[in-house]
Amino acid sequence: MPGFIAAAVTNMKIAVLSGKGGTGKTLVSVNLAAAVTPSVYIDCDVEEPNGHLFFKPRIHREETVTVKMPSVDNALCDGCRRCIDFCQFNALAYIKDRLIIFEELCHSCGGCALLCPWKALSEKDKAIGKMQKGKSKAVDVITGILNPGEISGIPIINRLLAECVNYHQRPIFIDCPPGSACIVMESIKDADYCILVAEPTVFGVHNLNMVYELVRLFNKPFGVVLNKCLKGDNPAARFCQKKDIKILGRIPYDNELGKLNSDAEIAVYKNKKYLAIFLSLWEQLPKEMHCEATSDSKR
C-alpha cells in the first residue's frame, strides 16, 4: 500500500496509555500500527478489547489462558484448617467434614497446597480467558480476552507480552488498559517507549497527570499525544508545557475522524490526511527508536 513505511527497526515496544478510557488509546495504537507496517498490535485491555473491532483480523491461533486452582481430596483431608487460616482471600471453608473452595475468590497463590500436611490439596488448571493471534493486512494482531467475572487479567497480559520475542525488525504497539492500576503497570513494564494520550479538558489533565506519574515511576521515556483538540484553550497542552513534556502531535477533533472511529474503521486506510498525521507522529518518536541495531532487550 502506498505511503507505508517499511519500519527498519528492531522489536521496539511502544505502549499507548491514558488515565481514562475514551481518550483515544485505541485510535492511536491501531492507526500507528496500520501506518507503520509491518507491525504488531497487542491489545492488553483484556476486559474490553476493542482493537480487533477495527482490524477484523483473520484469526489463525487461539489459546486458552489458565491459572491454577486448588482441588481437594476429602479422603485425605483431616479438617485441621491450616489452609483456611492461611488463605488471605477467605476462599476456603470447612463444613460438615468437607473443604469447600470458592474459586472466584482464589488468587492462585498456591499457598494452601504448599502447606497442607496431609497432601490433600493439589492444583488444577482453570481457564480465565484467551489469547487470539491473527493477521490484518501487514499487521499481526494479538488480542487478550478476559472472561467476565474473573479476578485479574494479569496472567493474560503476561501471555500476550511473551509473544514479543517472536517478532523482529518491527514495532510492537501495546494498547494498554485505562487507568494506572496494577494491570496497567504490567502492560508497560517491558515497554521501550510510552505514548500518553490526553484530551484537552480539565478532566484530561487530571487523568494525564496520573499516567505521567506512572511512567516516571517506571523510568520510561515518553511523549504525549493530544487528541480531540478543539480551537481555544487546551489545558492539557499547558500542562505539558509547564512540565516540559514532549508533545508528539495533536489530533484535531474532526467529525469525519470521529465517525470513522465510531464505525470501527481504521482512519489511515480511509484518508491520506489521517495517514499523514500518524506518520508524522511516528516521526516524532526518538530517532534511536527508529534505527537501533538488533539486540535483545536489556530487561
Partner: protein
C-alpha cells in the same frame, strides 16, 4: 433517599458531564464519585472546603527484613506474582505483590511478614450542608471494588435527609462497577454511538440485569453517528429498557467543563437536551414500579 447511578461501560462517553448536570438541575445534596481510579467529579462540583480524608487499607503487602534475610531465594521461587526483586538485597515489589503470604510461609528464617498497606484515600466534603463522597485509589493498587463500596458507605453514613442521591459510577464492567451497582434504585447508562460504545453498553446492561435494577439508556454525542444512535434506540426497545433521550455533541460543553461549569450553567444545545433526559429519568425513578 433514592440512589441514581450513572454508568457508561466505555470511558469518555460523558458520564461525569451528565452526572454534574443532573446534580445542578436537581440541586442534589448528596452525591458520590465512584470512579476511584480516575475521579473527575470534584473538578466540576467546585467544593469550597477541604475534605475529611481517611486512609484506605487494601490487602496487606509482604515486606522482607534485610537483617534477617539469608538470600536463600525461596521467596522468589515460590512467588507466583513476580513480586520478589533481587538487587543488593531481596526486596518486595509492592505493586506486584498480591498479599498472599506464600513468601512468609516458605521463608526459613521468618524474614518476611505481611504489613498493612495504604491503597488509597477516601475524601468526604461537607460544605453547605451537602455531602460529597469520593476517593482516589493509589497507583498500582488492585482492590478498587472495595474502595468503591467504602465511598458509598461514607456517603450513606453522612447523608442528610433528602430525596435523591446521585452516584457517578466507574467505567468498565468489572468489580468496581458491580460495587457501584449494589443497593442503588436505578441505573442510567450513558452510551455513545460507536461500535465499541455499543459493545460495552451491552456488557453493562447484562451486568445490571443480574441485580434486577431499573435501567435506562441515553445517548451522548448522538449526532456523531446517527445510524448507530438509531441502533441503540432499537436495542433499548428490544430489551424493554427505558430510552430517556439523546444529547448532541457540543463544543460549548467542553468549554463549560474546562471552566469548571456544568452544561446547564450556560445556554447551549447539550444543556437543553440533558434537562429533558433528566426529566425522563426522574419520572421513572420516582414514579414507575420495578418490572
Amino acid at each position: 433517599m433514592k440512589q441514581l447511578l450513572i454508568l457508561s461501560g466505555k470511558g469518555g462517553t460523558g458520564k461525569t458531564t451528565i452526572a454534574s448536570a443532573f446534580i445542578k438541575i436537581a440541586a442534589v445534596k448528596v452525591y458520590a464519585d465512584c470512579d476511584v481510579d480516575a475521579p473527575n467529579l470534584h473538578l466540576i462540583t467546585a467544593q469550597r472546603s477541604q475534605p475529611t480524608k481517611t486512609d484506605y487499607y487494601g490487602l496487606p503487602k509482604a515486606q522482607i527484613d534485610p537483617r534477617l534475610c539469608i538470600k536463600c531465594d525461596c521467596c522468589r521461587k515460590y512467588c507466583r506474582f513476580n513480586a520478589v526483586m533481587v538487587a543488593d538485597y531481596y526486596k518486595i515489589d509492592a505493586f506486584a505483590c498480591e498479599g498472599c503470604g506464600v513468601c512468609a510461609l516458605v521463608c526459613p528464617v521468618k524474614a518476611v511478614s505481611l504489613k498493612p498497606a495504604v491503597a488509597g484515600e477516601l475524601m468526604l466534603y461537607t460544605d453547605d450542608d451537602k455531602v460529597f463522597s469520593t476517593a482516589q485509589l493509589k497507583m498500582g493498587s488492585g482492590t478498587s471494588g472495595m474502595l468503591v463500596s467504602e465511598v458509598k458507605k461514607q456517603m450513606k453514613k453522612a447523608a442528610v435527609a433528602t430525596d435523591l442521591a446521585i452516584i457517578d459510577g466507574s467505567p468498565g464492567i468489572g468489580c468496581p462497577v458491580i460495587a457501584s451497582l449494589s443497593g442503588v434504585d436505578m441505573v442510567l447508562i450513558v452510551t455513545e454511538p460507536s461500535i465499541s460504545g455499543i459493545s460495552d453498553m451491552e456488557r453493562i446492561v447484562a451486568t445490571a440485569a443480574k441485580f434486577g435494577i431499573k435501567t435506562a439508556i441515553c445517548i451522548n454525542k448522538y449526532d456523531t453517528n446517527p445510524v448507530n444512535a438509531k441502533k441503540i434506540e432499537q436495542y433499548a426497545n428490544d430489551h424493554k429498557l427505558a430510552f430517556v433521550g439523546m444529547i448532541p455533541f457540543d463544543a460549548a460543553a467542553v468549554a463549560a467543563v474546562n471552566s469548571g461549569q456544568t452544561i446547564v450553567d450556560i445556554d447551549c444545545p447539550s444543556g437543553a437536551a440533558v434537562r429533558s433526559v433528566y426529566d425522563q429519568t426522574i419520572k421513572i425513578l420516582f414514579h414507575q414500579n420495578k418490572k
